[in-house]
Symmetry: C2
Subunit: 463 residues, 2 copies
């Protein structure tokens, strides 16, 4: 019988994260301040603790995972690597499809891999309280979980429309004792200003980020910092345990190097977590297609230029070197809330520019169609974000069948969809729509990038 | 470091179910027909396939698990046995608390252990379609999942109030292609009769059972049968894989025989699944307290007499020998919907009469309080049913501390609470109430038992 579940023993868990910054063909580009000049690490200390800032700018290839972080990760890690034999049978493909099951963490996604690490480093630094923003609530619930286990307070600014319409992830956060408020709120100047001008606003991630950063930097005790769930280097670093485990698991059954590695990408963290250890192989000459998948409704990698841009609508963050649709871009309301971001992690963006990744975009209707096929064959109900990776894996498996090639396909199963069933309801009742963004509309938002600096990959950064 | 997750290799999965009927000190009592006489297996053939009826009446100690059933169970089995070290630390108890994590199946509970087996046996028998009822939706979603994987149609009659108020488990069923209708429905005579008399009824499990049985027995193709998620012998049998795995896992780390074994009990299946293999040890002389836990609001085992009674309000089912609060009893609306049943599995009931089990009842406020403690220490959000087992385990761990005894406590973590967060919301907002049932009220319902036959454990049954 084919083993469909490849486990890894606790004692074989990776003990170091892999830092891709050490192996980037082009130098890691710095963040820029409002004056267009590289910012220095100490300019970030009001926002992040110095131990995480050091990770953010580190060029060390391997970074030790603290034992106490591992101890918490052991609750659900190592995660199983599963083989999708039932999907393979259905597709009649010669490809072998493996998926790394990150849905088994208590909050239900890959996010706790970094929320636990971030909470631990903050605690080490003497921080007692973290603030963050959340859209649909995946990240907010992961940070609430980590803070509770480590004894930190957690404050989450949740985009108002989700706060009102998606009560369940808010309830998860409250069950883990987080203080979750609707954003814009009366608790920050940024929130009050917006409420005065637009009392009926449905809120946005941009506003929530502004509120969370303000709440961190204005806390007079100095014991509060801000935490981000994707995009930044240290966040992607913490996720590399996914790909490092998957490599060991494939080796343990004598499987060859994957031909295709796939992850969905909103800010880039679950994709990077699986893919970066394989990017290293590709840099060293291995033949592997590495595919980050995004929604057609938010085509950052496939249609956004590589530019410096702000991480938020309100321009509170430094300028990041990244593929971006422009910080004023508001994506259509697709169900994959975690993929509705105008930018992309700088490390992922640089790899695209270097030609090491092959980004691809899918419509949500196709993603739901294949998420249903997944539920009917593999049995599990997929998060709407993850369904983008599933859709791409199915395409690659069908291509392998047409080519008659015995390919190995590896995807990141980043989360379950049990808290996102309303998307399935829309699909099943025929009410789900696709969004096509005309070039003129995309161009309009990219106007905002015109006056911003352009990264030069030939130039060494100043980190 | 203490290992908190005890795995079992796929090849070490139990290959036989344990049938407690072979070891019952008193003979297995027969079901009775409307005439008060034991019914014969062939009288059940319109409702169940003969291969499952044979299991229902079997006295064989070990029954082989078909390879094809195992192949599906492998998707999430063997499940981890976890040690609750963080809860232990918090309680400062010398007890070692282990929990068998049945929440990892795609539908999120132990229910698929039997839904997969039942769907498989029905398919073997040439059946093409299963009907069932569901309250909150745990069982309905588990049967929908199993039917989809095995290519059977699935029809679920869901109690109207849950159908309207709890859309998420309904959406899970629909995602797995089940036809889920609100009960009472226009599709059965039983449903139409009720709708005519009480168009505004909120429905009940009793009505839904009547509809599901009617839909099975009246199907003219002869290819439809009914499926039940608890209570019956064959259902409990399929769950014993839980306890058999747990035993192997405890042995694999050199742990001693548990001093206390705990499971919540509504119809009895998750409790029996963990406990029956340990009941065998107890029958053979081992010292172990085996505790089924029920809600104070539905105190079947602690306050209901052992009697013959109907399984449903409408008296469609045969008479079962069981602890019962009376088939007209309607439990108060506690959040643990899976524990709101007036009866108890005959096998569990007989063990109680034999003095082999020590049933206990808890109020839901205490259960939620300790479910929160669990979320804050162990990290996972517990189903409201499972929180009854958690509450009892905490009590036992505190008792061990007071007695200064190094006890081993084992509980069944039967499901996660991600689809049940509204109960947490009520608790956190201070709106949750306890229900105390005055003796007069309980006595009123037990009037219905007065004229029914009483089982005589000294008498051999006629199965």
């Amino acid at each position: 019988m084919t083993t469909t579940k490849i486990m890894l023993k606790e004692e074989d868990i990776p003990r170091q994260w892999y830092n891709l910054a050490a192996d980037l063909p082009s130098p890691l580009q710095p963040l820029l301040g409002p004056d267009g000049k590289p910012i220095t690490p100490d300019m970030l200390t009001a926002v992040f603790p110095m131990n995480l800032i050091e990770q953010e700018v580190s060029q060390e290839r391997w970074i030790d995972i603290p034992e106490e972080v591992l101890k918490i990760l052991y609750r659900w890690r190592p995660t199983p690597l599963r083989r999708a034999v039932y999907l393979e049978e259905h597709l009649k493909t010669p490809a072998r499809i493996y998926y790394k099951d990150e849905s088994l963490s208590p909050p239900g996604s890959h996010k706790p891999n970094t929320s636990v690490a971030q909470a631990w480093y903050n605690k080490q630094f003497g921080i007692e309280r973290l603030t963050t923003e959340t859209g649909a609530g995946q990240w907010g619930s992961a940070l609430a979980f980590a803070c509770k286990l480590l004894g930190l307070e957690c404050k989450v600014f949740m985009v108002r429309i989700s706060f009102n319409q998606k009560p369940f992830r808010k309830l998860m956060m409250q069950t883990w004792d987080a203080n979750c408020v609707s954003s814009p709120s009366e608790e920050t100047k940024a929130g009050r200003d917006i409420l005065e001008k637009m009392p009926d606003t449905s809120g946005s991630l941009g506003i929530a980020i502004s509120e969370a950063i303000e709440a961190a930097v204005t806390d007079e005790t100095g014991k509060t910092r801000y935490s981000l769930g994707s995009v930044l280097n240290h966040v992607l670093l913490h996720q590399t345990i996914i790909g490092l485990e998957a490599k060991k698991q494939l080796e343990s059954i004598g499987e060859k190097m994957p031909d295709v590695v796939i992850g969905c990408a909103g800010g880039g963290s679950n994709f990077a977590g699986l893919a970066f250890p394989f990017v290293l192989d590709k840099i060293n000459g291995a033949e592997v297609d590495i595919i980050p998948v995004e929604p057609e409704a938010c085509p950052t990698m496939t249609q956004g230029p590589f530019s410096y841009d702000h991480g938020d609508t309100a321009k509170m963050t430094p300028l990041l070197p990244m593929h971006s649709l422009g910080h004023t871009f508001v994506p259509p309301p697709i169900h994959a809330g975690g993929l509705r971001y105008h930018g992309m992690a700088p490390l992922v963006s640089q790899l695209i520019v270097e030609g090491l990744l092959k980004p691809r975009a899918y419509h949500q209707l196709k993603c739901y169609e294949l998420a249903l096929l997944w539920a009917h064959t593999e049995g599990a109900i997929t998060a709407p974000e993850t369904s983008h990776a599933v859709a791409c894996a199915v395409d690659e498996a069908e291509k392998a069948r047409e080519e008659g090639k015995e390919k190995v396909i590896l995807l990141n199963y980043s989360g379950h969809g049990l808290m996102d069933l309303t998307g399935y309801e829309s699909y099943l009742s025929g009410q789900l729509t696709d969004y096509s963004l005309p070039q003129e509309e995309l161009s309009k938002y990219q106007e905002a990038l015109k006056d911003l600096p352009k990264p030069d990959l030939k130039k060494t950064g100043k980190w």
